[in-house]
Amino acid sequence: MNITVELRDGPLVGWSGPPEAHAGAVVRFEGIVRPQEDGRSISGLDYTAYEPMASRELKRLADSAMCDFDLQSITVLHSRGFVPVGRCSFILLIVAMHRRPALAAMDWFIDALKRDVPIWKHPVWVNTVKGL
């Protein structure tokens, strides 16, 4: 079982996956902070995690995905704290023998994360930062 789950402070940078043995498909998803929320410009998102529950839930979901989709490895990194627009706040790397389970696992994991993992994002509005 090759599972990595980690919450890190601030934007995620310069991270590359583990070496793959006998893999056929390596799929990597990066969530990037978008410049707007609800049509208003933001300078970034502030992430709050309820720990250790957030890490535990990520681990539980990763275990479940490993088993249900027959993965070779799954790596989940999520930011906490402030992440500016255009920077990465979430990385999911899935390694599997075949493409279809890898993509299906990715879709399932991100849905499950949004449903179960106690991490909240709060927009930091551009005007708020400037004190207006």
Binding site: Y47, T48, M53, H78, K114, P118
Partner: protein
């Protein structure tokens, strides 16, 4: 005795606090009756309760789970990570 419930995200902003307090009624309290009690004592949160979940000691707990008082309790609602 008073039960403390941790709040996050929208719920914490509505209440203006990272936790809320529910007086215990004496009758055995379950996660289900706690949800009802939160909605009664904090009507501002009533809308969030149907889709919110109670976490007990960092795991989601179903409505029939009985609370004995020493647990860490949180109201988990509308997570949005990823």
């Amino acid at each position: 005795m008073i039960l403390t419930v941790k709040l996050f995200g929208p719920a914490a902003r509505i209440i203006g606090s990272p936790e809320l307090h529910i007086p215990e009624s004496g009758a055995a309290l379950t996660c289900g009756t706690l949800r009802l009690a939160i909605a009664r004592h904090y009507p501002q949160l009533a809308e969030l309760i149907p889709s919110g979940r109670i976490a007990v000691n960092h795991s989601y707990a179903s409505d029939e789970i009985v609370l004995t008082g020493g647990e860490e309790i949180a109201l988990i609602h509308a997570v949005s990570g990823g």
